[in-house]
Point group: C2
């Protein structure tokens, strides 16, 4: 099928050139399992988390000071290791100060440059004034400027230097930083509220669970803390991506589903086309990404995109004149995506001095998220998760052995309803069901104060973004509930403090 009007080699080559000149980061590694590699689960957005200059101009500019804090490399041993400088952004502009117990809003930095996250987390900046809150954005170790061993080159040298890039160490960094910040400001009694999206949302939830004495609550947005082991079915992610396309149009879904074979047959037609595999991977990444940022209005998260971008992609795929070949339709479709990105710099490669990459290391060590692609519900090539080959590739790339069961030992996940029903408090798990990561997140209330906010039309941590005149009602409502809940945490904290000091 679809062999008559296949796009010319020229067109495909052009496509690849566009890909490689505009978004090399997407294609530079196999980033989805279905095609050739079993290794990489889909990425969060952090991969792109270095501010593209053009985009930056369109972002709201928030005012903060940049500071550095000396951290231990291993908080959990007394090995004699060099310390490193953790960068953090701080604004006390609206802070009520220590006497009035002004809150501290603390964003759990995730896998990328913290300035970029600060620029893309408008919600925190916007609500800080009404709470009289200080705002702190600490950078995650091994990302951005927060490099152990003085440089990314050294930090990413090998498994020995990368060994301390773990979530637990990052949480300890945050905790030590908060403690010392508070000490310096005589602000020990000020309540800390955590925020985070994606992996940062996982960190925020885990930190509230592990360091309840440090932070009184956490807004954990789009955080797939259950995407480990067999807690959710491994097909979940790709099924949701696929569902987002099917929801717009069955024929769009079908066209994409049949395109993989066509792409393969292209390869047999022209054996000089070495990049077919990369092309498949890039297409898969593009679909995943489109599902994550399937926002209801035009947004400029990684790149400028129209509102309901999947709808737009499918319109193109479906709308081509009769007789248009499969690949040509696909090409038309994803042009919605890459056409917008022509101006984006090659912003990832220089973060990645040895072909290594922080998130890949994390995925190969702790963040082992099994992913399969189902036969029917998925529009991607069928694929069964294969731990052995995953492990082999991690060994090849990093000389490290993954610990696939560690995260749930350390942070839980299995049977989370029983274990947290009477334990813990003050966590919001917010999710949009269009987001493929929602499938591994907490979508039901676990207790009275560990609550799930689920929106039908939401995508990847849209609630953390700056407000916009185009915000739909459900988003306004979601944010209002979040504000109310955070207010109640702080209010209750003040009440407790008062009750105890009156005793």
């Amino acid at each position: 099928m679809a062999t008559k009007s296949e796009p010319s080699i020229l067109m495909l080559s052009l496509l690849i050139v566009v890909i490689f000149s505009s978004l090399p980061s997407l294609a530079s590694r196999p980033s989805t399992p279905p095609s050739s590699s079993s290794k990489w689960a889909p990425r969060f957005l952090g991969r792109f988390a270095k501010p593209p200059k053009q985009n930056q101009q369109h972002q709201a500019q928030y005012r903060y000071e940049t500071r550095y804090f000396s951290q231990r490399l291993d908080h959990f041993s007394f090995s004699d290791l060099p310390s490193f400088q953790q960068r953090y952004l701080i604004s006390t502009e609206h802070w009520l100060g220590p006497e009035r117990l002004g809150p501290i809003f603390f964003y759990c930095g995730n896998e990328g440059d913290i300035e970029w996250f600060a620029a893309n987390t408008g919600f925190v900046w916007e609500i800080a004034p009404r709470f009289g809150a200080m705002v702190v954005f600490p950078e995650h170790r091994y990302y951005g400027e927060s490099m152990p061993y003085a440089s990314a080159n050294e930090a990413y040298k090998n498994a020995t230097t990368l060994a301390f890039l773990t979530a637990e160490q990052a949480l300890a960094d945050f905790s030590v930083l908060i403690r010392e910040l508070k000490r310096n400001l005589s602000a020990e009694a000020c309540p800390v509220v955590l925020f985070g999206g994606s992996y940062g949302g996982m960190l925020a939830a885990w930190m509230r669970l592990k360091y309840p004495h440090i932070a009184i609550g956490a807004l954990s947005s789009s955080a797939p803390i259950l995407q480990f082991e067999d807690i959710v079915p491994p097909e979940t992610f790709y099924d949701i991506v696929s569902g987002a396309f099917k929801r717009e149009s069955t024929s769009c879904f079908d066209t994409i589903k049949e395109s993989w074979d066509v792409l393969k047959s292209e390869e047999t037609v022209d054996r000089t086309l070495k990049k077919t595999e990369d092309l498949s991977e890039w297409l898969e990444s593009a679909y995943n990404f489109l599902a994550m940022v399937n926002y209801p209005y035009s947004a400029n998260f990684m790149m400028p995109l129209p509102g309901h971008p999947i709808r737009e992609v499918c319109k193109k795929i479906d709308g081509s004149p009769e007789g248009t070949g499969t690949l040509e339709r696909i090409f038309e479709g994803v042009s919605v995506y890459y056409n917008y990105t022509g101006g984006v710099d090659c912003f990832q490669l220089d973060d990645d001095p040895h072909g290594m990459d922080g998130w890949n290391w994390q995925a190969c060590t702790e963040m082992v998220m099994p992913m399969s692609s189902s036969r029917d519900a998925s529009m991607f090539p069928t694929y069964d998760y294969n731990y052995s080959s995953f492990q082999e590739e991690c060994w090849k790339d990093f000389r490290v052995k993954p610990r696939p069961r560690w995260i749930t030992v350390e942070f839980g996940g299995h049977d989370i309803k029983t274990s947290l029903k009477k334990f813990g408090s003050n966590i919001i798990f917010s999710n949009g069901l269009l987001d493929p990561w929602s499938g591994g997140s907490v979508l039901q209330n676990l207790s009275e104060t560990i609550v799930a906010l689920v929106t039908e039309e939401g995508a990847h941590h849209i609630d953390l973004r700056a407000s916009s005149s185009e915000d739909p009602d459900w988003l306004l409502e979601q944010r209002a509930i979040e504000i109310k809940l955070i207010e109640s945490w702080i209010h209750n904290y003040y009440q407790e403090k008062k009750a105890i000091s009156n005793m």
Copy 2:
């Protein structure tokens, strides 16, 4: 004063000979700050935690299997380090098994040989049958047979090899062990209840807080989790020890209080007596220890002692004929203590290959417990805690820099009422007010399910000991409440499980 009838040099030398031949471990290190060293906080009982053969015969013999489990040396990094074998004792004799969700009673091994703790924690063994519980006693890393680097010699070689002797690593050991044990037995759904006394009680409480998904509750007996930084006044410990003596007799307290100067003047009289300082330290240790095991009936915890041993000591001190000198009285008094110990082997030194010692390492790294001796309320020489000299001695001994604020960053402690009032559940903090460690423990309920059981007449984790015909009513009652609470945890857990599986 008290210079006329000072004990002869012979008598003092004899005393020292007795000390060194019977209980060298007590005197081999400065173990209390007041005299010469600022370094050592009083020890828990674990110092002695190798089974004295004679005592062992009198202990109930519990049946268990001894097994070994391979553990990572650093759970929180991916450094390429050798694994080690953790020993654990296990009994499934009374276990209901996985289908009936039989509970798992898990004792958090503390700073010593686990067989000794198993022999001295009769409560767990005695109540296991009525719960249909499995019993597991895992050994703490770097103690007993659970040595990294294959031997104590290697493990205790230097700061590099000792680096991984931390409480957090021990908790991770426990958590990984439980997870793998359950997996092997298909017992994932079986509820785990933690037990621990002293440092082990701290571990139990911290583990319930940090790994709520692994264990449903903890009985944390005599666990001074607040004995850090400035959370409780540094005089607390010695004031309580002193109070236990004053309570029996003011003149006893006074005699001890004046004895230190007399001892010092002895030193000036006979400069060949190099051991005066050691003698002071041994006396201090003896008093501390007597306060800890000031049980209401004769017991054989470390050594056979009469009931109310402090009363007996004071009877001797006070009851000597008029004209008896201070040191002679002291000598008569502590004979209650060491006379019982003549048969005890030198059981500590061989645990301590390089003059190093696990607990001293822990005290020099994380477990920094400031201790002062007050001018009036304490019967010990006045002493103000001095962190600088403490730090210096740690550097001299181990080449390690303490982290005095780390424990409260990792586990909390400051303002614990506010932080745990609405967070956490199912912890019993049991304490006897005679125990000097009770001053750094949780003595008030923190919430409905984080409760304090305080007994006026109790001493160091007496509730964990095997029942005895001499148990006073308050102890029977305390244990009955503990059993009831544990029953309620398990009952609630079963209810939750049922409710969720019915959903």
